[in-house]
C-alpha cells in the first residue's frame, strides 16, 4: 500500500516491519521524529518492543549492544554529534559481531553548528566495522532497513549496519512509499536466532581479553564477515526483488554507465538529482553516466575496478571533507581503480557541505568540468564547488 511519508517515518516503518524488539534511542535533530513515532507505536501496543529512553547516544548504543548480545533484534537512530558520540561503542558492536541496525540521518558536524545535510558524520565511521548504506529515496530507506537485518544476521556476516538518510532532504521530505505487507516481511525476515548469546542458564563472558598472539585472528574473521556481506547483500536484494518487486541497484548503482565515457560517482540524495543532469546532458549528446555508491561499506571494490577500465574520466563527488590527500570516497574509488586494467583520469569534487544545495545546474557544471579533465590532466585534482571568494562560478 502506497502512502506519502517522510524519510524518518520510512525508517520507523522499516524498524517496525522488521519487528525490532528493543529500541534504545536519544533524540537529536533531524532524527527525532523516528524515535517519537516508534515510542508512540510502542505505547499504543501497535508495535511490540521494549523502548528504552536513554540519557545519551553512547548509552543508546551500549543498551543495543547488551540487548543484542542477549538475543534481541535491536534498532536505534541518530545523527551527527550523536553518531560521533557513539564512536567507541560502534567499534565494540562490530568487534562483538552484533548485527544491530541503525538509521543515521547524515548531518554536518560542528563547529560551525549546522543541522543540514552532509556526510561527514557517516564517513567518519568508515573504520568502525559497520556496514554503511547511503539512500537516495524514502522507499530505499525502508527497504534497506529490512534487507540490512537479513544481511547482518546471516551467519557468515554478523556485523552491524547503518542505513543513511540525508538530513532534511530525505528525513523531512514527504514522498510516496510502498509499505509492504507485514506477513510477507515476516516470511522474508525470520526472527533473530544467534548461536552465541547471553544466557542465564549458560553463563559466559563476552569480549574477553585476548593477548597479542590471538588478536589478529579475530580481526581476520571480522574482515571475512565484511567480505561475505558484499555477496550476501547482492543475494538478499535479489531475493527482495523477487518477493517485493523492486530493488535499488546493488552496492554500486550504475545509471547510463554502459556506454558512458565520463561517469560521476556520488552517494545519497544528490545522486538522484544527478540522474536528471545525466538525462539533460545525454539529450544534448554527451556520453555521461552516474554511479551511485549505495554501499560504502562493504566497499564495491570489484565494481569500481571494472568501471574504471571502461571510462575516460571518472569524477567523485564527496559530500564531506576528511583532510586527507583528497576526499574520503574519492580516495577509496581511486584505490580500487588503481588496479583496473586501464585507468581513467580522475577528479574529486567537494560539494554540498553543511547543507549547501546541489542543483541540477551545478551538477551539469560538474559534468562539463569532468568532460574536460582528460584534456587538462595537469589541472586541480581536488576542486571545491561553490566556495564564496573563489573565482569559479558553478550556479
Amino acid at each position: 500500500m502506497r502512502k506519502v511519508m517522510t524519510g524518518n517515518y520510512a525508517s520507523a516503518w522499516g524498524a517496525r516491519l522488521s519487528r525490532a524488539e528493543v529500541i534504545a534511542a536519544y533524540p537529536i535533530t533531524p532524527q527525532t521524529s523516528i524515535v517519537e513515532k516508534l515510542a508512540d507505536w510502542v505505547s499504543t501496543g501497535e508495535m511490540k518492543a521494549n523502548f528504552i529512553p536513554v540519557e545519551s547516544e553512547h548509552s543508546a548504543m551500549a543498551a543495543c549492544i547488551a540487548a543484542q548480545a542477549a538475543g534481541a533484534r535491536t534498532y536505534t537512530a541518530t545523527s551527527s554529534h550523536g553518531l560521533t558520540l557513539m564512536h567507541e561503542v560502534l567499534m565494540w558492536a562490530s568487534g562483538a559481531r552484533l548485527p544491530i541496525v541503525m538509521t543515521n540521518v547524515s548531518r554536518a558536524m560542528a563547529p560551525p553548528w549546522s543541522v543540514w545535510v552532509d556526510h561527514m558524520d557517516s564517513v567518519a565511521q568508515r573504520d568502525t566495522g559497520w556496514m554503511e548504506f547511503f539512500c537516495q529515496s524514502n522507499q530505499e530507506v525502508l527497504d534497506t532497513i529490512i534487507m540490512a537485518y537479513k544481511v547482518c544476521e546471516s551467519k557468515g556476516v554478523m556485523l552491524p549496519a547503518m542505513v543513511i538518510e540525508d538530513a532534511f532532504i530525505l528525513s523531512h521530505t514527504s514522498e510516496p512509499v510502498d509499505l509492504p505487507d507485514p506477513a510477507i516481511v515476516d516470511d522474508f525476515l525470520p526472527s533473530y536466532a544467534p548461536e552465541l548469546k547471553l544466557e542465564v542458564g549458560k553463563p559466559m563472558g563476552f569480549g574477553s581479553l585476548v593477548r597479542p598472539d590471538q588478536y589478529m585472528e579475530f580481526r581476520y574473521k571480522a574482515m571475512l564477515g565484511m567480505k561475505d556481506a558484499h555477496d550476501r547483500f547482492l543475494r538478499v536484494e535479489q531475493e527482495f526483488k523477487q518477493v517485493f518487486g523492486r530493488e535499488h541497484g546493488g552496492l554500486l548503482e550504475r545509471y547510463r554507465c554502459d556506454d558512458a565515457e565520463f561517469v560521476l560517482v556520488a552517494a545519497g540524495s544528490v545522486a538522484a538529482t544527478a540522474k536528471d543532469a545525466v538525462d539533460a546532458l545525454r539529450a544534448k549528446g554527451f556520453p555521461v553516466g552516474l554511479a551511485r555508491i549505495r554501499s560504502f561499506r562493504p566497499f564495491p571494490h570489484e565494481e569500481f575496478k571494472a568501471l574504471g577500465a571502461k571510462v575516460a574520466g571518472l569524477g567523485v563527488l564527496d559530500r564531506s571533507y576528511t583532510f586527507g590527500a583528497a576526499g574520503a570516497m574519492y580516495t577509496e574509488v581511486k584505490a580500487s581503480v588503481y588496479s583496473s586494467s586501464k585507468r581513467p583520469v580522475m577528479k574529486n569534487y567537494i560539494a554540498g557541505l553543511g547543507g549547501r544545495d546541489i542543483t541540477p545546474k551545478i551538477l551539469e557544471r560538474i559534468f562539463e568540468d569532468l568532460m574536460l579533465v582528460t584534456k587538462r590532466p595537469e589541472g586541480n585534482e581536488v576542486e571545491w564547488v561553490e566556495v564564496a571568494g573563489l573565482p569559479r562560478r558553478w550556479r
Binding site: G95, A96, R97, M158, E195, L196, K202, P203, M204, G205, F206, G207, S208, L209, V210, D213, Q214, E217, F218, Y220, K221, G225
Partner: protein
C-alpha cells in the same frame, strides 16, 4: 596454544569464570589476623576489593588463593588487629 582463525568463535567468549585465575600468586605480603583483638566490626570484609575475606563466626578468614596482599584490610581495621607480614616468613 594459538588457534587458527577458523577454530575460533566469532568473538572472544569465555565459559570459565574469573575464579580460575588464582591471584594469590601475585602476593608478596599477607594479612595475619589476631582473632583475640578482633572486634567483629566486619569492616575488613566490606573493604576487601577482591572479596578474599570471609567471616567465620564474625571473625575474618583470608582466602589465600585470591588475596593479593593489598593491605587495605590492615589499613582500615579500627582495632589494628591485622598485620601484613612478608610472604615466606612464618
Amino acid at each position: 596454544m594459538t588457534k587458527g582463525y577458523e577454530e575460533l568463535p566469532i568473538t572472544p567468549v569465555s565459559d570459565t569464570p574469573s575464579t580460575v585465575n588464582l591471584t594469590g600468586n601475585w602476593r608478596v605480603i599477607r594479612p595475619v589476623v589476631d582473632k583475640e583483638k578482633c572486634k567483629r566490626c566486619t569492616i575488613c570484609w566490606k573493604f576487601c576489593p577482591d572479596g578474599a575475606i570471609i567471616l567465620v563466626d564474625g571473625v575474618p578468614e583470608v582466602d589465600l588463593k585470591f588475596c593479593k596482599g593489598c593491605g587495605i584490610c590492615a589499613f582500615e581495621c579500627p582495632a589494628k588487629c591485622i598485620v601484613m607480614v612478608k610472604e615466606g616468613l612464618e
